[in-house]
């Protein structure tokens, strides 16, 4: 009898181990250490102890208080080039203020979970966090971010310097400023300029389609052109490289087709229109391009795979982030420097995207955190970051002659940004991305029609409202 009981107990523990596996596994996809990490910016878990950190004294200069305990702030960031540029600047802030800065840079896929556990607890290890644009409503509604209006007023910080679409996306929510826009990663079309100089392609294209061989101004013609290039160049040069991995890569990419085809998530009455005829057509175009123009395997491509194909010179166009141009123009990272350009999406409307700086509601040292934000977003510091290759969010930096001399394409980026659309600010945005990723992938794999896939998305969105 007892042995039966023990066997049962052991069975239960086996099952328990399974549950533990299901519950809270957190996998960081081998986040590489930030290459430019300065000494103060270790990638280790910050060991912030709120009790050990004295409240900052805003009016006092740290240098004037030698007896005061040194202050420290911890920042959670993503492993991206813009983080590296910040890391390079931190020493100057530490020297200026005496506040030590520790940056933990992790892989994007782990960020939301990591932030969630920190924001839900009474105290937080982080004084400053970066917030992706589609977490904004979720974080604001849950009151997880400190309203910054009083800090902004006290420091006379001018938020009008930001590009309005950036401030709207990763700045204020319902009239309250929770974030300062950090960097943009608006999408657009990166393409190979030398393709249009290929005489053979040009003559055959013009003969077959009866129009000039230039970048088309609508998605239908663009998909046709991509298929044409793949047909002609085959293995060596696909018309387009795409990223069909669930959930973010495919969603981010398709939304450019979606907006550029004249579709939107809601109509003027707030009704869901994600399965409108325009939207369905945009998905049909996307699936057509994926299956008939992109390289085999693109439905499983993530960011790295797609980038590598383009950087190796195996694709003619690529819907991607505007900052990718700097990388593709860099001979150390790409085989096609000098042959790439950034443009409007054919159809004209890109997905706007960006990150904002925020102070968590439960941050241990909010005053010091604001000092950092105020400094890092000042004109000189933000400009230095942009000159190093970071993506600006301030209009005055976009217009800066030095920056435009170095990166002339920012003129186009700013124009595209002004017309770009953002992902709807929903509390369930993260969930919607997941649903979109799944359904778009179903359409690409042929398990569902474009109409059926978007009908499912619409149904799920109505449940959210």
């Amino acid at each position: 009898m007892k042995s039966k009981f023990f066997a049962l107990l052991l069975s239960a523990f086996m099952a328990l181990s399974l549950m533990a596996g299901c519950g809270d596994e957190k996998k960081e996809a081998a986040a590489p250490a930030a290459p430019a990490a300065v000494e103060s910016a270790s990638a280790e878990q910050p060991a912030a102890e709120p009790a050990a950190q004295p409240e900052a004294q805003p009016a006092a200069e740290p240098a004037a208080q030698p007896a005061a305990q040194p202050q420290k702030i911890n920042i959670l960031m993503e492993v991206v080039p813009d983080t590296d540029f910040v890391l390079e600047q931190i020493a100057a802030f530490e020297k200026e203020t005496g506040i030590e800065v520790v940056v933990e840079a992790i892989n994007y896929a782990s960020m939301h979970e990591k932030l969630l556990t920190q924001l839900l607890s009474r105290t937080n290890s982080y004084d400053v966090i970066v917030v992706d644009f589609y977490w904004v409503k979720e974080f604001a509604d849950a009151k997880w971010m400190e309203p910054l209006d009083s800090y902004i007023k006290d420091s006379a910080f001018d938020t009008n310097v930001y590009v309005p679409t950036m401030m709207e996306m990763v700045g204020a929510v319902d009239g309250v400023t929770y974030m300062l826009p950090f960097y943009n990663y608006m999408l657009g079309l990166v393409y190979r300029t030398d393709i249009f100089e290929d005489e053979e392609l040009k003559s055959e294209y013009e003969e077959r389609f009866g129009r000039e061989f230039i970048l088309p101004d609508n998605m239908d013609d663009y998909v046709e052109m991509c298929k044409f290039i793949t047909e002609k160049k085959g293995e060596t040069l696909a018309g387009v490289v795409m990223q069909g991995l669930r959930p973010d890569p495919i969603t981010m990419e398709w939304l450019n087709y979606f907006f550029s085809s004249g579709a939107d998530f809601f109509d003027a009455n707030g009704d869901v229109t994600v399965n409108s005829p325009e939207a369905v057509h945009s998905l049909e175009l996307y699936v057509d391009n994926m299956n008939n123009a992109a390289p085999a395997g693109a439905p499983g491509f993530g960011f790295d795979e797609a980038f590598n194909v383009f950087a190796q010179g195996n694709a003619a166009s690529y819907t991607t982030y505007n900052w990718m141009l700097q990388k593709l123009d860099n001979p150390e990272e790409s085989t096609v420097p000098g042959k790439v350009a950034f443009s409007w999406m054919p159809g004209g409307i890109s997905l706007n995207a960006g990150w904002g700086w925020a102070i968590p509601h439960n941050a241990p040292n909010k005053e010091a955190a604001w000092k950092f934000l105020n400094w890092v977003e000042s004109f000189d510091v933000a400009k230095a970051r942009a000159m190093a290759g970071g993506c600006p969010t301030r209009a005055d930096i976009f217009a800066d002659p030095d920056l435009l001399a170095k990166y002339p394409h920012y003129e186009v980026v700013l124009e595209v940004m002004a017309k770009s659309k953002m992902f709807p600010q929903l509390v369930e945005a993260n969930q919607l991305i997941e649903i979109l990723g799944r359904e778009l992938s179903e359409a690409v794999s042929g398990s569902k029609t474009s109409q059926a896939a978007l009908d499912t998305v619409a149904e799920e969105m109505r449940k959210m409202k």
């Binding site: 007892k2 042995s3 023990f6 066997a7 049962l8 052991l10 069975s11 239960a12 086996m14 099952a15 328990l16 181990s17 399974l18 549950m19 533990a20 596996g21 299901c22 519950g23 596994e25 996998k27 960081e28 996809a29 081998a30 939301h112 979970e113 969630l116 839900l120 979720e138 509604d141 849950a142 069909g244 991995l245 669930r246 959930p247 390289p295 085999a296 395997g297 693109a298 439905p299 499983g300 491509f301 795979e305 590598n308 194909v309 190796q312 195996n314 509390v427 369930e428 993260n430 969930q431 997941e434 990723g437 799944r438 992938s441 179903e442 690409v444 794999s445 042929g446 398990s447 569902k448």
Partner: protein
């Protein structure tokens, strides 16, 4: 010390620790001491496992969502019923079942074959053995990332090698037709060493007398294998299959790195589905219900395996 002099307790896969006689005959004092020694482990178990288990069990009857404090509204069995109604949950159950059966069977066959080969007197056996267990020592995330690079349809070495052999390139992870098979292959690559390790341990510990007797009686190699090795190895085999089945059912890492459940839902397994429910949807209520449904499948399975394993041993 057990009554059998601890012989049974020295064998891998021995479930004998459940026998009451381990403490049998001990005085009350030693029982108290035993409890004292175990108390720290028991407290840790209670806090780390029983506590969250209890919480998730309660949460499975509520509309618990991480966005809102507390457990939310009481919804009775709705979370369980809705999980069954969800085509995606059902699909993930199907994918998980297919994956588990295939990887466990194939890993067992390959693992047992390698273990039998290594159990013979082969020169350089230890070197082979060391090389074979390397995949098991690598983190599944690293394994997934490495294979993702190797399997890149245009830039990966797998398709390049196939091209040299005149075989067509395939979209290993980008096609719903091949993605699950590819994930299964990667899992087999990584987990066969585990099977080899467990089965080798069993083979090494088999007594030599029955083999000598069989040899004298003129048994063929096949007869020796089917009449002696296999029956004597059965407890080890069952334990290996049991543990591998449970591990395969909760496969998460490989899916996360290789496919994220796609293309479509062709590789979406239960663990990944539950994880998304909990940490993307923040829907702790239904994620807990799904976890308990999964447990309801695993519990009887592990109980049956243990029963079988014990019977064979006794």
């Amino acid at each position: 010390m057990s009554e059998d002099g601890g012989k049974a307790g020295n064998r891998i896969g021995d479930g004998d620790f459940s026998r009451p006689r381990r403490f049998g005959g001990a005085k009350t004092q030693s029982r108290i001491e035993a409890v004292q020694f175990m108390s720290l482990s028991l407290i840790i178990l209670a806090v780390c496992i029983a506590g969250p288990m209890l919480y998730s069990f309660v949460a499975s009857f509520f509309s618990a969502n991480l966005r809102n404090p507390g457990l939310g509204e009481f919804v009775g069995l709705d979370n369980y019923v809705n999980s069954f109604k969800s085509p995606y949950f059902r699909a993930s159950m199907g994918v998980t079942a297919l994956f588990t059966v295939l990887v466990v069977v194939l890993e067992f066959i390959v693992g047992f074959a390698i273990a039998l080969l290594l159990n013979r007197k082969v020169r350089g056996k230890n070197i082979f053995f060391s090389i074979i267990i390397i995949p098991m020592l690598i983190s599944p995330i690293a394994v997934g990332l490495t294979w993702r690079l190797l399997l890149h349809p245009k830039l990966g070495i797998v398709n390049y090698a196939l091209g040299l052999l005149g075989l067509p390139a395939r979209a290993w992870l980008g096609s719903a037709k091949y993605a699950l098979g590819t994930v299964i292959f990667v899992d087999i690559w990584q987990q066969v060493p585990y099977m080899v390790l467990v089965l080798m341990a069993g083979l090494v510990s088999l007594p030599s007398e029955p083999y000598e007797a069989a040899s004298i009686d003129g048994a063929s190699r096949w007869q020796t294998f089917f009449r002696l090795t296999l029956p004597m190895m059965l407890p080890n085999i069952l334990v290996a299959l049991l543990l591998r089945t449970i591990n395969a059912l909760k496969t998460y890492d490989l899916i996360y790195v290789l496919t994220k459940g796609g293309p479509g839902t062709s590789t979406e397994m239960i663990s990944y589905h539950i994880y998304k429910r909990a940490f993307t949807y923040l829907d702790i209520g239904s994620a807990s219900a799904m976890s308990y449904l999964l447990m309801a499948i695993v519990m009887p399975l592990s109980y049956v395996f243990f029963k079988l394993s014990k019977n064979k041993m006794n």
